[in-house]
Amino acid sequence: MLATFDTAYNRFLLLAAALLLAIAVSMTFYQVVTRFVLTDPSPWSELAARALIIWSVFLAMAVVIRRGDLIAIDMVFNFFPAIKRFWLRCWVLLWIFAFLLILLYFGIEITIRVYHQSVSLLDVSMSWLYLAIPVGAGLSLISLFFRLLELYAEHRKVRATL
C-alpha cells in the first residue's frame, strides 16, 4: 500500500516536471517564431517559460531527493563499513530535512509577502512563482520519509547477512 503510493507519487511528480519542461521549451521556441515569422515578438512567453522552469526544478527536487540523486561528494561513504553507512546516510538526511523545513517555513512567508506584487507584463501575482519553493519543499519532505524507509530496509538486509 505504502509502496504503491510511493511509486505513483514519484511517477506523477516526475511526469509533471517533465511536462512543464516541455511547455517551457515550446514557449521559448514560440518566441523565436513570433519574432521571425510574425515579426511581432510575444512579450509574455519568456516570463512564462522562466516560471515553468522554476516549478519544474522544485517539483523534480522531490523525485531527486527520493532517489538520492542530489549531487554530492560521497567518497566518505567508502571509508565506512556497509553496516555503519546507514547512520551516515541518516546524518545527511537530517541536513536535507533541515534544509526543507527552512524552505517550507520561509517559503510560505515570502509567498504571502509578495502576494500584492504582480509579475510585470503578466497579470498574475508573484506568489504563484514563489509558491514553487514551499510546495516543492513540502512534497520533498514526503519523499524524504520514503527515502528513509528504503534506506532502513536496505540496512536491515545488510544486518541480516552478518
Binding site: R50, V57, V63, I71, A72, I73, V92, L103, E109
Partner: protein, 425 residues
C-alpha cells in the same frame, strides 16, 4: 566571517552532504549567527538565482543533447569520425577523440558525452586489442571536450555569474578546444606506436561520403546553433530551444528513431538532471549574495596583489589552485562560487575576463577526469565496467597532455581572444 564562510563549506562537502544543501545550510548558519538579515532572504535568493533567462539554456541544452543521443546520433558520428581518421594506425582511439569533439557541439556536458560515445567506442577499442583501462582513459580524457566546445554549460554559468557575454565565451573556447583535441590526437598517434597497438583499427569503416550523408543532419546542429548566436539571430537561450526542436525533427522525422515512449523518458531524465544542476545554481546564488555583502573579493585582491607581482605568477597560482579544487569539487559549484570572487582579482592583474573564463573551464574540465573525484572518470569506468583505481596508470599521460595544453592556453591569451575579437569588434 568571510574566510570562515568559504572554509565552512569544506567539512560539509567532505561529510557527503549534497552540494546544494551544503551551500544553503552554510549560508543559513552565517546569516543567522553573523548578520541580522532575516532568513526569509533564503527562499528569495534561491528564487532570484533561478529566475534568469540565460540560465534556461542549461535545461534546454541538456534536453537537446539527450534527444540527439536517443535519436541515434552517436553511431552516426562515430561512423563519420571513423571514416575520417580510421585509416591511420590507432585510428579507433583517434575516432574517439574526434567523435567527442563533434558530439560536444550538440551536448553541453561531458558526462553525457562519455556515456553516449563510450558505450560504443570503449567496447570497440577493447575488441581491437586496446587494454580496457587504456580505452576508458582515452574516453574519459576526450570527453572533457564536451565542456570546451560550445554549447558549454560551465561557460554559461561563468557568463551568468560574472556578467560576461556568453556569445563571446562560446567563440573564445573554440580554438582552445580544437587545440586540445589536436594535441590528444597527435599524442594518441605516437602513443599507439610506442605501445604497439591499433594495427587493425580500419576494419569495417564506412566510406566518407556515405558516413557524411548519414550524419549530415546531426552535424548541421552546431552550424544552426552557433550560426544563430554569432549572427545575432537569437540569444543562446533561444538557440537552445531551437536546438531542441531541431533534435526532435532529426531524431523523430528524419532518422525515425524516437518513439513517444522514448520522448517521455528523455523529458523525464532531463527534468531530473537539470533539477540537480539548477538546485546547485540556485543555492550558489544565495551564497554569492553573502559573498557580495562581505569584503572577501577586495581582501583577496589586496592579499594577492601584495604577494604576487606579475600576471603570469598570478595565473600560475590560480591554475594550481583551480587544479586542486577541480580534483574534488563539482564543476558548476566551483564556477558559481569562485568565479565572482576570482574575476575581480584577475582583472586587477590585467587578465581579460573572457580569457580567464576559458582558463577556469579548461582547468575544471581537467578535474573532471582526474582522481579522486572525476565525473568523467566514474562514467567511463562505469561504461567499461572497471574499478576506478585500475584506470589511473593509463590516465597519467593523458592528464599530462591536457596540463601542457592548459599552460599554453594560459600563456597565450590570443588563442582564446583572437576569434572573439574578429566577431565582436
Amino acid at each position: 566571517m568571510n574566510a570562515a564562510l568559504l572554509a565552512l563549506l569544506i567539512p560539509f562537502f567532505a561529510a557527503g552532504i549534497p552540494i546544494a544543501i551544503s551551500i544553503v545550510m552554510v549560508s543559513v548558519i552565517s546569516l543567522y549567527f553573523f548578520t541580522n538579515i532575516p532568513l526569509v532572504v533564503v527562499p528569495q535568493r534561491l528564487f532570484v538565482g533561478l529566475d534568469s533567462f540565460p540560465l534556461m539554456a542549461i535545461p534546454f541544452f541538456i534536453l537537446a543533447g539527450n534527444l540527439m543521443s536517443a535519436g541515434g546520433i552517436s553511431e552516426r558520428l562515430v561512423n563519420l569520425a571513423k571514416a575520417v581518421v580510421g585509416q591511420v594506425r590507432g585510428g579507433l582511439a583517434c575516432t574517439c577523440v574526434l567523435t567527442c569533439l563533434m558530439f560536444a557541439s550538440v551536448s553541453g556536458s561531458s558526462v553525457a558525452t562519455t556515456f553516449a560515445i563510450g558505450a560504443i567506442l570503449i567496447p570497440a577499442m577493447v575488441k581491437h586489442g586496446y587494454p580496457k583501462a587504456m580505452a576508458a582513459a582515452i574516453q574519459a580524457s576526450s570527453a572533457e571536450l564536451g565542456v570546451l566546445i560550445p554549447p558549454s554549460i560551465p561557460l554559461i554559468l561563468y557568463g551568468v555569474s560574472t556578467n560576461t557575454s556568453i556569445g563571446k565565451l562560446f567563440t573564445a573556447t573554440i580554438l582552445p578546444g580544437m587545440f586540445i583535441a589536436v594535441a590528444l590526437l597527435l599524442f594518441i598517434i605516437i602513443w599507439v606506436r610506442v605501445r604497439d597497438l591499433g594495427r587493425n583499427d580500419a576494419d569495417n569503416s564506412l566510406s566518407f561520403w556515405r558516413a557524411l550523408k548519414e550524419s549530415f543532419g546531426a552535424i548541421m546542429m552546431p552550424v544552426i546553433i552557433l550560426g544563430g548566436i554569432y549572427g545575432g539571430i537569437f540569444t543562446p537561450t533561444e538557440a537552445s530551444a531551437v536546438a531542441v526542436v531541431y533534435a526532435l525533427v532529426i531524431g523523430g522525422l528524419v532518422y525515425r528513431k524516437l518513439s513517444i515512449a522514448d520522448l517521455i523518458s528523455v523529458f523525464k531524465r532531463t527534468a531530473i538532471s537539470s533539477s540537480t544542476v539548477m538546485l546547485i545554481i540556485s543555492a550558489a546564488s544565495l551564497f554569492s549574495f553573502l559573498i557580495g555583502r562581505s569584503e572577501l573579493p577586495e581582501q583577496l585582491s589586496a592579499f594577492a596583489t601584495s604577494q604576487i607581482d606579475s600576471q603570469i605568477g598570478f595565473l600560475l597560482a590560480i591554475n594550481l589552485l583551480l587544479f586542486m579544487i577541480g580534483m574534488f569539487v563539482e564543476t558548476s559549484a566551483a564556477i558559481l562560487i569562485l568565479a565572482p570572487i576570482l574575476v575581480p582579482v584577475a582583472m586587477q592583474f590585467g587578465v581579460d575576463p573572457v580569457h580567464f573564463g576559458i582558463i577556469m573551464v579548461v582547468n575544471l574540465a581537467l578535474g573532471m577526469f582526474t582522481p579522486p573525484l572525476g565525473v568523467n572518470l566514474f562514467a567511463a569506468c562505469q561504461v567499461a565496467n572497471l574499478a576506478v583505481e585500475k584506470i589511473v596508470p593509463e590516465l597519467i599521460p593523458f592528464v599530462l597532455v591536457v596540463i601542457s595544453c592548459l599552460f599554453i592556453i594560459t600563456w597565450f591569451p590570443g588563442l582564446s581572444l583572437w576569434l572573439p575579437s574578429l566577431i565582436y569588434p
